[in-house]
């Protein structure tokens, strides 16, 4: 599904070139559940953003579903964001002015989904995450765990093939974290959704099938568990 070849991402500062990512080679198949780990500043978020078309590599090749990403224009990228990729963020990034219901519904507004169908899709999500009673509340009226559930529901509403989660449990207690991870695992196993998450926690990483270690912008350890 995802094929990265010799990806460089750098920032030019005066005479110096600072590499955030250097020479990344990575293959992720459909149905994988991958955890990216590494110290702060290693370039994990940057890698995830490149995979999610939110950032562009300076060098190298990236194929998404065998399609060269560097050839995509803004509109096509939007199209992928609508139908293929769902994002979950550490800081939740819900829209403060919208209710839980409206936050979950939001991605559907950018796809051609009829009003009645939207309603039933959002209702399904609220049901699935047990937040029906909270649908008219605003994000700041929810706990962090609840907010992240809304964030996950929002990412899933478009039935994406790929979920990109940047430290989804970074701000949560362990109980809440486990709930989110169980959800991911279920999605991955039952619906075959590909999941790539960034995490600092070994415990959270083990929910995935595969761990990629990133250090100073390079992959140092790929699939340590499989190799054992």
């Amino acid at each position: 599904m995802i094929k990265l070849r010799n990806i460089d991402r750098y920032i030019d500062k005066r005479l110096q070139r600072n590499f955030i990512l250097k020479g990344i080679d990575l293959d992720i198949a459909e149905g994988d559940f991958v955890s990216i780990m590494g110290p702060s500043g290693a370039g994990k978020s940057t890698l995830l953003n490149i995979i999610g078309f939110l950032d562009d590599a300076n060098e190298g090749e990236y194929y998404f579903l065998d399609e060269p990403v560097h050839g995509l224009n803004e509109k096509q990228k939007s199209e992928y964001h609508r139908s293929y990729i769902g994002f979950v963020f550490q800081a939740y990034h819900l829209i403060d002015e919208l209710t839980v219901y409206e936050n979950i519904e939001m991605p559907l507004l950018y796809r051609k989904v009829k009003g009645s169908q939207r309603k039933s899709m959002v209702a399904d999500m609220l049901d699935r995450f047990n937040i029906v009673a909270k649908k008219d509340l605003f994000p700041n009226q929810l706990s962090g765990g609840q907010q992240q559930l809304v964030g996950v529901a929002r990412a899933l509403i478009g039935s994406p093939k790929l979920i990109l989660a940047d430290e989804p449990t970074g701000n949560l207690h362990s109980d809440q974290s486990k709930e989110i991870m169980e959800t991911f695992k279920k999605l991955n196993k039952e619906d075959g959704v590909t999941i790539i998450q960034v995490t600092h926690s070994d415990e959270m990483a083990t929910y995935g099938d595969r761990i990629i270690n990133l250090q100073d912008g390079a992959v140092t350890e790929n699939n340590p568990y499989e190799e054992e």
Partner: protein, 392 residues
Amino acid sequence: MLIKGLIVVQFGLAITLMIGTYVMQGQINFILNKDLGFNPENVVAVEINSELQNALKIGQLYSEEAQRIPGVLSTSITAGHYRDYSEYGVVDIGMAQMKSATTLSQLGDGIPSEAVDAQYLQTMDIELLKGVNFSKQANTFPSDEVIVNQAFVDAMGWDNPIGQILEDKPENQGWVGPFDGKKVIGVIENYHFKSLYDPLQPMVLQHIEAADQNPGTILIRLSSDRMSETISNLKSLWNSIAEQEAFNLAFMDDMVQRQYNEEIRWNRIIRISSMASILLACFGLFGLSALVAQRRIKEIGIRKVFGASIKNILVLISKDFVLLVVCGFAISAPVAWYLSNQWLTGFSYKIDLDALPFLYGGLTVLLIALTTVSWQSVKAALQNPVENLRNE
């Protein structure tokens, strides 16, 4: 909220002025293009001093000689003064000021009358509806003939105007009106010898010799080509006939237009003020939209991540501002309607106030407002969402 209210008021003002500009423009175009019943284009008026000895003889000589100049189509001697009293802002194109006392009860106290010669209708391009024009043989006409306009006929309620003899004689008052015993030989189309502020009135044409009046103006219709050459020839001719007298020439269409100088000036003032107020409102809008775009930058980033296109973002940001303009329109439309109507009542001839100036006014301002807002919203929409979603 306060800022929004202020912007609504500013846009209300801008839209009101914009609508006013369109209404005025429409009325002025209407006036300037209205068929006046005569054709002022290519007609010049040469002033002749009525106090001059032999003014009529001099006028007739000049008129006759002028007709030989190539480019002169027709000339006519009239008693009226076609001149620009610019210090009063009044233009008198002909007989507007010349009233004759009359006792014809249907016509009120006095009616405008003009003394002209047989070429007047041709020179002014006024249509003769019935009967005949004055005779060209200057000395053979009977002196009791008059030509009246259609409004005169209507006021008198005549079915057969030709041959009617006017009885301008009050009972028991011991004086005789100037039109007593005059015979109607022709009826002409109504023409606007006054500005369009005034309704059409009944009027009478007499022959200048029969009326025993001094000439005030020689009207000359010119061919449109080589006009400046023709005019310089007219000037030389004038200098050779009346060498001590100044040559004063004015274009009739200029004079017609000058009647509405005030309106044209006001239209310009209103237009400039509407531009200024739009500019002012847009400054406010620009600031507010920058503020809003900044405040919603995170939301924009989130929406883009979930598939919002640039267009979606533009609509999102602009929607609220369109609403402000629509609110401004809602309060300004009735005000503009009232003011426009008020202004138009001053004219006897005016456009019907329809929805178009309102539509144009609203749309013009909306378009300018959208352009202003899009500056900020395009900037916001083009930003990389990653930048805006970085950990806060």
